[in-house]
Amino acid sequence: MAETRQAARPLSPHLQIYRFTITMAMSIIHRITGVGLYAGTLLLAAWLVSVAMGPDAYASFQSIAGSWLGQLILFGFTWALLHHLFSGIRYLMWDNIRAFELRQADFISWGAAVLGFVAAIIVWVVAFKLRGVL
């Protein structure tokens, strides 16, 4: 039994042989941003709870969020959410069997990646402008 199983089975190609494709990269990044956003919901909860608790708690939240590390994490959260959103729209399109042709799939994947990044930059430029920093 064991011998027949081992005989003449084609081996799957080794991982290193695989060529980079944008659709493949995007599906990994979609998962990473999903898990990051999952953790990030704690920030959202902390923000709401700090407002509910009162001025002192809110001030503490703001000083942490306003630190350079806080700002970096918040930028990461913004990017992850916008990337995941545009990337997620692709899945919803593909569920309805649109744009599954290879070239289109590549184009849409690049588009989602670029849109997510550009949108995150725009949100932060607006945020800095609102605060009078820029």
Binding site: V35, A45, V49, V51, A52, L85, G88, L92, V123, R131
Partner: protein
């Protein structure tokens, strides 16, 4: 017997898939709303934040966003656990932790949102 058990599993997997896609669809406008709200409130004082979040329409949208997010991410993380966490004990532990995390974040956030709205 085995047949009916697997049919049940297939049914619940289909349901989970459907909820995840519907919540994703709902999250497209809701996530954009959330970003706009955070943007409007970034760096503002306490009174302004409270004023905005105390608006009934804003509050309802915030609560809807939380509900959609929690429903969506519970199923998403469940899938991630299915793929990476093996071994029956760890598997069950991870799935239980996932549910607890989602319920805790959801209830905590909704409690806070309602407290700001009603002020109990």
């Amino acid at each position: 017997m085995a047949g009916s058990a697997s049919k049940g599993a297939v049914k619940s997997a289909t349901r989970a898939f459907s909820i995840q896609r519907k919540s994703a669809l709902a999250l497209i406008p809701l996530a954009l709303f959330l970003i706009a709200l955070i943007l409007a409130l970034s760096g503002t004082d306490y009174e302004t934040a409270r004023h905005y979040l105390g608006n009934p329409i804003v509050s309802i949208l915030v609560i809807l966003t939380i509900l959609a997010t929690v429903a969506h991410m519970r199923i998403g993380m469940n899938e991630v656990i299915e793929d990476y966490v093996h071994g029956s004990f760890l598997h069950v532990l991870a799935k239980t932790a996932n549910i607890l995390f989602c319920v805790a974040v959801g209830l905590g956030s909704i409690y806070a949102a309602l407290k700001i709205l009603i002020g109990f």
